[in-house]
Symmetry: C2
Subunit: 342 residues, 2 copies
DNA sequence: TTGTAGGCGTTATCAC
DNA sequence: GTGATAACGCCTACAA
C-alpha cells in the first residue's frame, strides 16, 4: 500500500518520532539525522497521511464557502477572492452552492454533517426564520456573508447596500434630474433587494416624488427575464426624465437591450442604471452607471475573518462593512445632460 | 471535547461496534437496539469524526478541481457543472485556481501534497513539457480536462475544439463569403488557441485564401486587451468581406465595442465572430455568432468520470469528447447577406 | 445479534 | 537528541 512514516523511519534507521520531528520542524534534531531522514523521505516519495494528521491535530486546513447559487459574474468574483485569500492563509477552499430547489441552508446541513472543514463562510441572501435556528446548530467556526443577520455574536462581512443605493438614487434624482424612477429588483425576500428598495423609497420621499407600487417590479436577477419584462413595459416607462433603477447589472443590461430593440434611446428617452459593477456594466452600450460592489474583496475578507477565528476561537466577533462606490458612466445621462447645460 | 462514538455507546448501553453498525447500516442489528442507539445519537448530536473515518476507509468524499484561473463566465460555468455533479455523486468539491504567476501545476503539487482529496480533475490549458512529468507524480485518481494530452492512459474529457473552429471558419468563409479572416487568439501555447488556429489555416487553404501571419494576433482572452488592439488595428481590418475570428466571446465583444466606438459597422463593414457562447455573446450588439462549448457539462462529465474511477480504480481509461455547436447570430452578417440575396 | 481487540498513520508525552 | 508508547476516533475481523 502507501508508504507510511514507518517505512521512512526504517529506511533512515531512526524512530518514527524522529521522522515526525523533521517533518514538523518544531523540535531540534541532529543535522546528520535530519539529512538521513530527508533523503529517505525523498527516496520513498513519502507524503504524510492527512487523515491521521487531522485526527491528531483536529485540523484539515480546509474551509468552506456556501453560496445560494453560483450563476454569473457576481459569485464567480466572490469565489475568486475567497479562493485567493484561503490559499494565502494556507487553506484549501471547498465551494458549494445550492441549486435545483435545494436552498443553501439544507446544503449547509449536509455539508457540515460529515465534514472535515475547519470552518465555513455562509452567504445569506434570503431572509428566513430558519436561519438563526440553523446557525445555532453549526458546530464549526463560521462567518456570515452579506446577510443582515441581527445577532451580533457572529463574525460577518457585509456590503453597505443601503448606502450604495442611496448614493445611486440621489445621483439619479438629484443630479440627473429624474422625476420618476422605476425599480426593478430581485425577490422581495432577498436581503439586497430589500435594502435597495428601502433607499429607493427614502430618496423618493426626500425629493417629494410619490412612491407608486406599480413602479416596483420583483424579478429574479436574470438578463432574460428583465429583457422580456422591459419589452412589455417599456412603453409605460419611457420619458426623458424617467429612470429605471435595476438592482443588478444583468437586468439593467437586459433592459437596455430591450430598449435598443424597441428603438427607445438610452439615456435620452429613458435612463437605466444598475448595481454591482460586474463586467457587463462596461460592456453594455451605453455603458452602465452602477454601484461598484467589492465582490472579490468580500470573499477575501470573509475567508480572512474565518481563518482568524479558526486560529483564535475566543476572539470577539468582528463585523466588516464594505463600502460600495457610485460609478457614473453613460446610461444615466448625467454626462449628456451636463453638456446640454453648459 | 466533542462527543465520540464511545459516548453514544455508553448512553445506549451497547458496544461501539454496535453503534458503528447502525451508523453504517451494513450489518443487521436488532431493531430495538438500533432504536436505542439512534435515539442516543440524536440526543447527543453525534457526528462521526471524518478524520478517523477517512483513516480507516481511505476516503474523504472530497474531490478537487484545478483550474488555470477562474476569471469570467467560462470557468464559472465549469465550476457550476462540476459542483452539481459532485454533489449528485455524494462528494464535495474543492476548487482551486492558479493566479498571480503561480501556474496550475505548482498549484496541483501543493494541493496534492497534504491533501485529503479522493481525486482531482485538472484543467490543462497550456502545453508544457512539465505536464506529463507532473502527472506521473500524482498519486490520487485524476482526470484531464480540455488538455490535449497524448497519453491515452488518463481519463479525459475534451471539447472537439478543432471541429468547432472548422465549422465556424467554413460558415464564415463558405456561407458568409469572407475573403479575409483575421484571427485573434490567446497565447500560442494555449491548447485551445492552437486547435482553433489549425482549423483557421486549414479552411483558408481549402478556399484558396492565403494565410498571412500578420493577420494572426495572440492576446490574453480579455475584453480590454482586445478592445485596445481593435482600436489600433481596426483601420487595417475593415472590409465588407472581412471577418475577425476571435478565439473567445469576450475578445469578440471587445472588438465589436471598439468598432462601435470608431464608427465601424458590424457586420456590414466588418464581421466579427466569437467562441464559447458565454452569456456575453447574446448581450453584445449585434449578438455574436459563436460556437457553443458545453462548459457546465464539461465540468459535470469530468467529475462523473473522476468519481467513477475512484469507485473503480482499475477501469480502463475513458475519453469523452464533447461536441461544440455553431450558433449563428447577427455579427457574422449571414442573415443580412441572405436577405440581400433574396 | 452483539462484544472484544487490533489496527489505520500521526502527533504528543514521556523517559532515556 | 532520540526512542517507546499512548492517544486520536473509527471500522472490522473474529469470537461469543
Amino acid at each position: 500500500m502507501s508508504v507510511s512514516i514507518f517505512d521512512v523511519a526504517k529506511l533512515a534507521d531512526v524512530s518514527i518520532s524522529t521522522v515526525s520531528r523533521v517533518i514538523n520542524g518544531r523540535e531540534v534534531v541532529h543535522p546528520r539525522t535530519r539529512e538521513r531522514v530527508e533523503s529517505a523521505i525523498a527516496q520513498l516519495g513519502y507524503k504524510p497521511n492527512a487523515f491521521a494528521r487531522g485526527l491528531m491535530l483536529h485540523k484539515s486546513e480546509i474551509v468552506g464557502l456556501v453560496l445560494p447559487d453560483i450563476h454569473g459574474e457576481f459569485y464567480s468574483e466572490i469565489i475568486r477572492g475567497a479562493n485567493q485569500q484561503a490559499r494565502k492563509m494556507g487553506y484549501n477552499l471547498v465551494v458549494s452552492s445550492a441549486h435545483d430547489g435545494a436552498d443553501s441552508y439544507s446544503l449547509l446541513v449536509t455539508l457540515e454533517q460529515r465534514s472535515l472543514m475547519d470552518g465555513v463562510a455562509i452567504m445569506i441572501s434570503e431572509l428566513t426564520d430558519r436561519i438563526e435556528e440553523l446557525l445555532a446548530d453549526v458546530r464549526i467556526p463560521f462567518v456570515i456573508l452579506d446577510g443582515d443577520v441581527k445577532d451580533q455574536a457572529y463574525d460577518s462581512v457585509v456590503i453597505d447596500q443601503k448606502r450604495g443605493a442611496l448614493a445611486m438614487m440621489r445621483h439619479v434624482v438629484g443630479e440627473c434630474g429624474a422625476r420618476r424612477v422605476i425599480f426593478v429588483g430581485g425577490l422581495e425576500t432577498n436581503v439586497d433587494t430589500a435594502a435597495r428598495l428601502e433607499a429607493y423609497r427614502e430618496v423618493l420621499g426626500e425629493n417629494g416624488l410619490t412612491y407608486d407600487p406599480a413602479d416596483v417590479y420583483h424579478l429574479d436577477y436574470q438578463y432574460d427575464t428583465a429583457y422580456r419584462l422591459a419589452k412589455q413595459e417599456l412603453q409605460r416607462w419611457v420619458g426623458a426624465d424617467h429612470c429605471v433603477f435595476s438592482a443588478n447589472d444583468e437586468m439593467a443590461a437586459g433592459i437596455v437591450a430591450a430598449a435598443g430593440a424597441m428603438g427607445v434611446l438610452v439615456p435620452s428617452e429613458l435612463a437605466v442604471v444598475g448595481f454591482d459593477d460586474t463586467r457587463i456594466a462596461q460592456m453594455t452600450r451605453p455603458a452602465l452607471t452602477t454601484v461598484r460592489v467589492p465582490m472579490s474583496e468580500m470573499g477575501a475578507r470573509a475567508i480572512e475573518l474565518l481563518c482568524d477565528r479558526i486560529e483564535e476561537p475566543d476572539r470577539p466577533a468582528t463585523h466588516i462593512v464594505l463600502e460600495p462606490e457610485l460609478v457614473v458612466r453613460e446610461s444615466c445621462g448625467y454626462a449628456a445632460n451636463r453638456l446640454k447645460t453648459l
